[in-house]
Amino acid sequence: MGDDAKKIAVIVTDRQSEALRMSLGLTIEGDAISVFNCGAPIERTDEVNTNIDGLDMMECQLFSVNEVDEGFATITMQEIPAKLLEYDHIVSY
């Protein structure tokens, strides 16, 4: 990751599959991507799983308000706002 890498937070509330596909795409330029699932538990389709595997490979941080979201670190909705202040861009989906 270069010195000019940006920190980008993607907030997922709906359209999970597209939000995750976009998150993965955002890693292409070497930026540090974190995903915050603030909505329903992630629906695991093949496409979603492939994108989550890719996000892991690209060392993205995955957070979710749902304990059941495997592979995501559990975070409370109250913890998210302060965390968002660390990011250059906040992209809500």
Partner: protein, 57 residues
């Protein structure tokens, strides 16, 4: 930190409300721009670049 929260016309309350309220409670300099009530785009663009961070909901 100066933070601009842009609320679009069809945004349902929920995540955005929690984040905005918390940012205010954390003592951040929060500006809220509601597109349903205000469509002064020149003002919006000024705010986008005057603030350190922008979140669109």
């Amino acid at each position: 930190m100066k933070i601009l929260h842009i609320i679009k016309e069809f945004t349902e309350s929920g995540t955005a409300d929690v984040v905005i309220e918390d940012h205010q409670n954390l003592g951040q300099d929060v500006t809220i721009f509601r597109l349903k009530e205000d469509r002064d785009y020149a003002k919006l663009v000024d705010l986008i670049f005057q603030n350190d961070k922008v979140a669109t909901w």
